[in-house]
């Protein structure tokens, strides 16, 4: 098999260091000039349970996981449950090997730790190897690791074997290990590396298989970054210095990154009793004049519903992050889904309104988190950044220059003490903090402690100085003023260039694929492939959900014959939102859905499109689901 890209899957048990080994591997290859993209799969379990990370490596830009993969490094699962007869969970010990065979490309490579895994436990193993033309390397990685150091170093042994087979210069990996490991760990790891590398070069034929790593180079310095990193960094560069949270997968990553970094820049992180408190603290800090954020995943975000409404009603700026995972309820904590779209758009009582961004990848996550803060503080409205387990955890290389941006600690619409002296007050001396008839309908807020700025913030309907009021006149004025901010924000976003979401593919294409958030990169690859195969398709990846980009999406849909809406949930929420916002096109939009916990592969979108739209056929299997357009 020859290939111009390596899709390397390292599989083992939870707690065996699979994540850090794969991260180092990806970073080393990035440093060598290649583009990398990772995809991880892990159970909601601390010790044991099959986990893997895929590292896709290419000389060309990549924005998605691949289709299947071509190189398996199967390590043991040190914490596997004892295999029992008829065990419900099956034999866990061999899962790092057995569970990964279905997706392995024909002609691919299998390296497994024969110190821990026995192929006799896998039905028809030899037969499958022969059928698919796999190249198998059974190497006792554990023993090599033990000889020079500790058993955990079998990960290093596995990486060394990978290098020997795929033709990766050992120095690429070694120099990174040198940078990241303390001397006394580094030394034995090097011995393990060399020994394992030697086993391949000495005992195996170097030319088979014909897998060789491409070579590449970058025009500028790259960083290996995840969506979670990028959200945290966007917040920090916007001058966010306060976070409150409660752990919940996958949101915990952003919370952790912020908690570790904030003290270094003189900020405050608070882990609190629950998510109601978390959102309330962010509101309290913001009220007192600090840029603040909170966030959670679906369950925790549900608890934030009432504070969210309070922020809207009191016009307290706040940024909330929502990291989706498969629901409902506890669902599948470590599996990805885009099922919280409606939850985030509509939760909280009354005519509520908020801004929602759904970044596709790390770069958008950084920029849109910054935008979310700017809008929240400028317009005194909650902004939400909606992402998911997939793009939160995917690592990809991004030019370092993306982050070479000025910080923006601006508090947005606030009034100074000097301005307060001339500002309108009510007869009791309260500042009219919620005035009608002001520019953009945003009434600048004062901050507690300012002379001449006192007012009452309240979740009740209120008069300009904050006094609680049920006067119909005042009510209508205040509702109109608050609601109008969404239109102003829409105009501001449109002014950025109109085509503010992501377009890809030939402008005059016959068909469209419409998606939102984290599916964008995979859809790009699918669209490229479809066009290569002679189809005529273009993509619109929407990542600004509220206010919804009505004109832009309308233009896109009108320009094609039919649109396939791709999203990771079972109830086609994004398609529903699109129809609601546009008020039409029900007969033009069909859906391709996936909700088994794993993100789309490009080939699934290609297949979904060809089978359902072009051939009007039925999709085989139930990995993905097609829902036709109304009246179709």
């Amino acid at each position: 098999m020859t290939t111009d890209e390596l899709i390397w899957r390292i599989a083992g048990g939870s707690g065996d260091g699979i994540a850090s080994t794969s991260q180092n591997f990806a970073k080393a290859l990035m440093r060598s000039g290649l583009d990398v993209f990772t995809h991880r799969h892990y159970p909601s379990r601390i010790r044991g349970g099959h986990t893997y990370t895929e590292v896709r490596v290419s000389a060309d830009p990549i924005r998605s996981r691949g289709d299947g993969y071509n190189f398996l490094l199967a390590l043991g699962d040190s914490f596997a449950r004892n295999p029992q007869e008829n065990a419900y969970y099956g034999n866990e010990e061999v899962k790092p090997l057995s569970e990964n065979l279905d997706d392995l490309d024909d002609g691919g490579v299998i390296v497994y730790d024969s110190g821990l895994l026995d192929t006799d436990d896998i039905p028809d193993f030899d037969q499958r190897v022969e059928e698919h033309g796999w190249h198998v390397y059974d190497i006792d990685l554990r023993t090599i690791a033990r000889e020079h150091g500790r058993e955990v170093m079998r990960n290093t042994a596995g990486v060394a074997v990978t290098c020997a087979i795929a033709g990766i210069e050992p120095e690429v990996i070694k120099s990174l290990m040198d940078d990241t490991m303390p001397e006394k760990v580094f030394e034995p790891n090097m011995s393990v590396f060399d020994d394992a590398y030697g086993v391949v070069t000495e005992e195996y034929d170097a030319d088979a298989p014909d897998i060789s790593i491409p070579s590449g180079s970058h025009d500028e310095e790259q960083v290996l970054i995840s969506g979670s990193d990028a959200i945290a960094y966007g917040a920090l560069d916007e001058g966010c210095r306060f976070i409150a949270g409660y752990p919940m997968t996958p949101w915990t990553e952003v919370f952790t990154i912020m908690s570790q970094n904030l003290p270094e820049v003189g900020g405050i992180s608070e882990q609190v009793e629950d998510e109601i408190a978390a959102a309330a603290l962010a509101i309290g800090a913001s009220h007192a004049g600090v840029k603040a954020m909170s966030g959670s995943s679906g369950g925790g975000f549900a608890l934030m519903s009432e504070p969210l409404g309070l922020a809207e009603m009191t016009e307290t700026p706040v940024v909330l992050i929502e990291a989706m995972r498969a629901g409902p309820s506890t669902g599948m904590p470590t599996k990805t889904e885009q099922g919280d779209l409606e939850h985030v758009l509509y939760t909280s009582q009354g005519d509520s309104h908020r801004v929602v961004f759904a970044p596709a990848d790390a770069e958008e996550a950084y920029r849109q988190t910054r935008r979310a803060f700017q809008i929240a503080y400028e317009y005194q409205i909650p902004s939400i950044v909606l992402y998911d387990q997939k793009n939160g955890g995917e690592l990809q290389n991004v030019p370092a220059s993306v982050f070479d941006e000025a910080p923006n600690p601006d508090l947005g619409s606030v009034i100074t003490e000097a301005e307060l002296a001339d500002a309108p007050h009510d007869p009791s001396g309260k500042y009219n903090r919620f005035q009608h008839g002001v520019e953009d309908n945003v009434s600048p807020r004062s901050i507690p402690g300012q002379e001449g700025g006192r007012y009452l913030a309240t979740g009740n309907e209120h008069m300009p100085a904050g006094h609680i009021s049920e006067s119909p006149d005042n009510r209508v004025n205040q509702v109109n003023r608050r609601m109008s901010k969404m239109e102003t924000i829409r105009a501001e976003l449109d002014a950025d260039g109109g085509q503010r979401n992501f377009h890809h593919g030939p402008a005059d294409a016959d068909y469209g694929i419409l998606t939102f958030g984290s599916q964008q990169g995979t859809a790009v690859e699918a669209v490229d492939r479809l066009n290569d195969e002679g189809e005529s398709v273009k993509l619109l990846g929407v990542s600004e959900l509220a206010p919804y980009p009505v004109e832009e999406v309308t233009g896109f849909i009108e320009s094609v014959n039919e649109v396939l809406v791709v999203e990771m949930n079972a109830s086609a929420q994004f398609r529903g939102l699109t129809q609601k916002e546009l008020g039409r096109f029900g007969d033009k939009l069909s859906s391709l859905l996936k909700y088994n916990g794993n993100p789309f592969e490009p080939a699934e979108i290609v297949e979904g499109f060809v089978t359902s739209i072009v051939e009007d056929g039925r999709l085989p299997g139930h990995e993905t689901k097609f829902v036709p357009a109304a009246g179709d």
Binding site: L310, E417, P448
Partner: protein, 312 residues
């Protein structure tokens, strides 16, 4: 120079300054104990020389939640049960503020009970006043977490089967470092206690007995009351956790037998406040965070310079 000059100014204040010059006048029922809290808070603020604009009064929802509608200062009338997390974050954001949280017994001991425990445990430097009328006032008289066992209401037509919670004991166990009970019928003691509570560096909890003549006829007026710190019948050391605990238990028990005990129950001056603890471990800046956003000379760190190298 501070962006918040109300905090740094040092002038005398008259208690009338905390009364709104015009509307709104309180809408509480005649004879309601909530008036007593308002009056005591005004007296305490004046005695402490606090400017109305260096105070942030955060309230929950209930009749009690209207406190900051009738008290002239910065106010945040939050949502049911959530005054504490909002208040304590404001204090962390700007430690120069004098932060008072207040709300009902349902608000603080029921729906917001989790926040009560944790705010006390963390010992935030703030004062928390619970208007304890042993009833849900605003929603028209349903049983609350402090309603006595057997108390009949529209939602407990056969009388409550539940023992009331013990707010003072709970507060002590949770970690509050100043705990007192006072009553609306005792305005001088109430004012003195609020003064002490605000001056105290740490979480001060005041269980404030506020009669609700409209819905809670059983509770009468909380008279006659006994000040345990003045009475010779109740000798105990309020800095001693065990003795305080015993005194609290007795107080909570006899309340429903008609004896109203009030006073200071527990004071721990040694324990550092949460802000101090957090600063000591380097997780909170020395300068109020809120000042930074108004400081044109502050050099803001950028991710590009501080955190990006680890990704290279």
């Amino acid at each position: 120079m501070s962006a918040f000059s109300a905090i740094s100014e040092d002038i005398e204040h008259d208690r009338n300054e905390y009364t709104p010059g015009v509307e709104p006048q309180p809408t509480w029922c005649p004879g309601c104990g909530d008036f007593g809290v308002l009056k005591a808070l005004k007296g305490a603020a004046a005695e402490l020389g606090l400017s109305p604009e260096e105070m942030l009064v955060c309230t929950g929802i209930g009749c009690s939640g209207k406190l900051n509608s009738y008290f002239e200062s910065y106010g945040f009338h939050t949502i049911h049960g959530r005054s504490l997390p909002i208040a304590r974050a404001a204090k962390l954001a700007n430690p120069g503020l004098t932060v008072v949280a207040a709300g009902g017994d349902g608000d603080g001991y029921g729906i917001g009970g989790n926040h009560f425990s944790h705010s006390a445990r963390e010992n935030h430097d703030m004062t928390y006043i619970v208007f304890n009328n042993e009833i849900f006032g605003l929603t028209k008289g349903q049983t609350s977490p402090t309603s006595p066992k057997g108390h009949k209401s529209k939602t407990q037509p056969h009388g409550s089967a539940k023992d009331p919670i013990r707010p003072l004991s709970q507060s002590l166990t949770a970690g509050a470092s100043y705990i007192a009970r006072t009553a609306a019928v005792n305005p001088n003691q109430a004012k003195d206690i609020i003064v002490e509570a605000i001056e105290h560096d740490g979480f001060s909890h005041i269980d404030f007995l506020t009669q609700c003549p409209t819905w809670n006829k059983d509770a009468k007026q909380y008279v006659p009351y006994i000040d345990i710190n003045d009475s010779e019948d109740y000798e105990f050391d309020r800095t001693n956790r065990a003795e305080a605990s015993e005194m609290m238990y007795e107080t909570e028990t006899v309340l429903h037998e008609g004896t109203v005990l009030t006073g200071r129950y527990y004071v721990d001056e040694e324990r550092p406040s949460y802000g101090q603890e957090k600063r000591a471990i380097g997780e909170m800046p020395e300068e109020p965070l809120a000042e930074r956003y108004f400081d044109d000379d502050h050099e803001w760190d950028r991710v590009y310079d501080t955190f990006l190298d680890r990704h290279k």
